[in-house]
Each structure stands twice: as structure tokens, then as C-alpha cells.
Symmetry: C2
Subunit: 242 residues, 2 copies
Amino acid sequence: MSKLAAQPLYRQVLREVMAAIEAGEWDEDESLPSETDLAKRFGVSQGTVRKALDALVADAVLYRRQGVGTFVAGTSDFLLRGLFTTPAGADGVKPSVELLSCVKIHAGEQLAEILGLRRAAALWQVRRLLRVGGQVIGLEEMLLPEANFPSLEMRRIRELKGNLRELCWRDFGVRLKDGQVRYRAVLAGQTEARLLMTDVNEPLLQLVRLAVDFEGRPQVWSVAWLRTEELAFEPPVLSPQV
Amino acid sequence: MSKLAAQPLYRQVLREVMAAIEAGEWDEDESLPSETDLAKRFGVSQGTVRKALDALVADAVLYRRQGVGTFVAGTSDFLLRGLFTTPAGADGVKPSVELLSCVKIHAGEQLAEILGLRRAAALWQVRRLLRVGGQVIGLEEMLLPEANFPSLEMRRIRELKGNLRELCWRDFGVRLKDGQVRYRAVLAGQTEARLLMTDVNEPLLQLVRLAVDFEGRPQVWSVAWLRTEELAFEPPVLSPQV
DNA sequence: GTTACATCTTTTGTCTTATATAAGACCTGT
DNA sequence: ACAGGTCTTATATAAGACAAAAGATGTAAC
């Protein structure tokens, strides 16, 4: 292992492992070589490899099973994650994503700032719809720097069933993870109501997030509007009685 | 150190350290003994103490500064945490909490299930209001098992400026951390509107959370309604143009 | 006297070695 | 066929040695 120094060993190992994953050396849900083997390969001890893998497990890039092995984790879509109470959506209904549009636009001042780009840099604007059991549940707009994702085709997005996170990973080697996430409640305007096929002034959960790559660089900025009334949530709230 | 076995050493150390913190052996922001000293005290190696402290740092019970020491972290309130962009609230405005009520009620079926209590167990129902710069921003209802928090007095809550998390900690030795958190958007009903001093049908962010102690046992169930329009959020959303 | 700088001490952080524990595969006797 | 060892290979834990960072302290130059 090349000792660039100025950086702890386990950090270098982490990078090397990440690079190997990005190079497609091991497939999704495929087991990596054992910690001992990786240790030999990088010329460090098992404990050091372990510390590197620990960090990747914490970032949900890998998962482990004692006595069995360490595996590459899949890349499920952000939008669909953590919205439902049951793991795969209640009642056996499967959420699906419909791609609405994918066009090139130019970054405004604030957005360029947030994504660390020069002003008016080229961006992909991707819009998609989240459906659950036939009903439209959410609308999302995502903005990606064109520089990092040069050829973003609608065909390809459709191929991956709208899973942009997987696309970023497979086609561009960028592994996204959640950065900041902000929530707020808003009323549906005309545009949102039309796209969500619901009424103006329905309350919507607005989700603003900045996804970063595993080095912490901002990569995708997105806003989603969700009809939370319809979601299979926890038992509803107590009746106020004050 | 008593070797109960069936549990790794570092886990036992973790418990002992946690117990010492609960016993008030070290104050908030006070430094613990060095890892080497703790190692001597518990009769284990520094590395083992380190692994125990690692876990507590991950749970934000402790924080560390290389070359300086390890310190007991404070207990800021849940409600106020992570809502603002700037660390202490924008524009120098300080959020404050007003206690509305604190009464004893009986658990419904679902709630008893969630909190792991028998049906109709006694609960404290605490209601409080979040103010920012004079304006009412949020309303929260919290439910705590009376068994775990026997004497909950309004006077005491007021003393701690409404910080229930700190109260649970100081008076009952229960260190709370976030468990599940769910978000949804709802419209203000008459009750919420009246208490929040706003209009019916304003969109509100509803936050349902279950706080657990550091052993993972559910302790506090709460619902909050927040006026997110007023919060100092990220730059507002792009104008839809589809 | 004060300041710049080296050095010492104490602390957390990293790394290796050795050993324990978990899981599954493979025997092997009934 | 199947129940139960035991072998192999994985991750998990523990201890000790050493490195790096931060602050305190001493000291020479001015």
C-alpha cells in the first residue's frame, strides 16, 4: 500500500477499498475478501482493515455478518427510503417511480453556491413522480451538476426504474449518501396539485435535501413534495383535550 | 471489574462508565479521567476503554478532544434541536419554551403497546409551546410513563426552562436519545390554531417521535406541530416550470 | 520584563498481534 | 436419513506498543 502519509493508514485502506468497489471489483451483495486477506493485500494488519470497514459499514456502503463475511450494500433510492413503516411498503403495495422530465438548465446563484459550482453552471433537472398502489404520493425535483454526470439519459433512468441513486453509482461511480435534510409543511400550489393529481391547499410535506458523495462533496440537491396523509404511518395522533 | 461474561468486556466498561455518569461522578463538560486511568480502574487495557467510550461518543453522551480529554456532553432539548439552520437560531433570536400543562392520564391501547406498558398505565401528559422571538412556533405534547418518572412537577420543569430531556436526566437519571422520528404535513385544526395563535388550515409539520433510553427501551412518546413557514430555513425552493 | 521557541507531560489516536466467538461445511456413527 | 461432533474460515474482542496533538513549562534572546 502506497504510504502517502499525512493520513492515517486505515483512511488510506478505506479509500482503496472504496476505489475497488467503484471499479466494480465486487458486485452488490457479493462478499469482499476476508479482513485477513485484505490485510495481506494492503500490507497492513487485520485490525486496520477492520477499522476502515467499520467506517464503510457506518456509512451503509457495506454490511457484515459475523462468521460469514462482509458484503457490498445495495443502493436503494432516497425518495423511497424511510417513508413507510413497514420495510417494503404496507399491504404488499410496491412504490414505483415515474420519470417526468430530464432537461438541462442553468444554476441560479444560491444553488451554484450550495453545490459549489460557478454561477450559471449547467445542471440536469430531473423530475419524477412517486406512486404507491396506483395513487400518486410524491413529486420530486432533483438537480445534478452536468459536469459530474455528463450523459444523463431518460432511457437509462427508466431502465433503472427511476432509481437515480443507483444510476449515479452504476454509470458515474458516485456513491451518494444523505447530507443535510430539511422538512417543512407547505400547501399545494396549482402546479403541485396538478402533478400530484390532488387539490390545491392540501398539506404537503416538503423535503429539501442535499446528497453528498462519500468524500462529503455536495452532488445532488433536491426538493420533494409528499402527500403524507396517504402514507402508511404510525397510529394517528392523540386527540387534543386542553 | 465484575466479569458477568456472556457480554464483551468493553460493553461492561461502557455500562460502568454510564453508571458513573448517572451517579453524577463527573459533571457536564467536565473531563473524565484519562483512558489510561479508567483502564487501570476497571482492570482492562486502554484500547478496551477506548472502544467503550467510542460508543458513548457515537451516542453523543461524550465528546473528545485529542490531546486534551474526554468530556460529558450536555443534554439539549429535542424540540429545539436541528430545526434551525444557524446553531443558536438566526438573528440572535433565542427560542424559549413555555409549559402549558402537566397532568396525569391513562394510556390508550396503542400507546401502551408502543411504550411497552400494560393497558391503562398511568402517564404524564406534558404540553409545551415553543416560542422564537415572541412568536409561537410550535406546540408539543409528550407522554411519559409515570412509573419511570414518579414525581414530575411543573415547578421543576419551569426551573429547567422547559427542557424535559435535561429533567429526565437530572432528576431521574434517564438519558434520552432519539428513536424513531416520523414527519408528516397536516392542516391546523381549531385546537392547534388556537394554541399556536395562528389560522385554521395553516400547514403544520407534524413530528411524531419515540425517545428511548441508552439501553433502547422506549421512554417518551411525543407529537409536535411546527409552523415551518416561520422558521429560518434554507433558501426557498425553485419555482416549478414544467 | 517580555517574547519567541524548544521541550516535557499528558492526553487521545493509530496500529499490530493474539485470541475469542460465530457460522457453515463436512464428516461419521447410528 | 439424520444427529451431533469437529474443522475451517469468517468476523469480533482484547491488550500493548507507539504516534500525534495540545497545553504547560522553562529558557534564551532581546
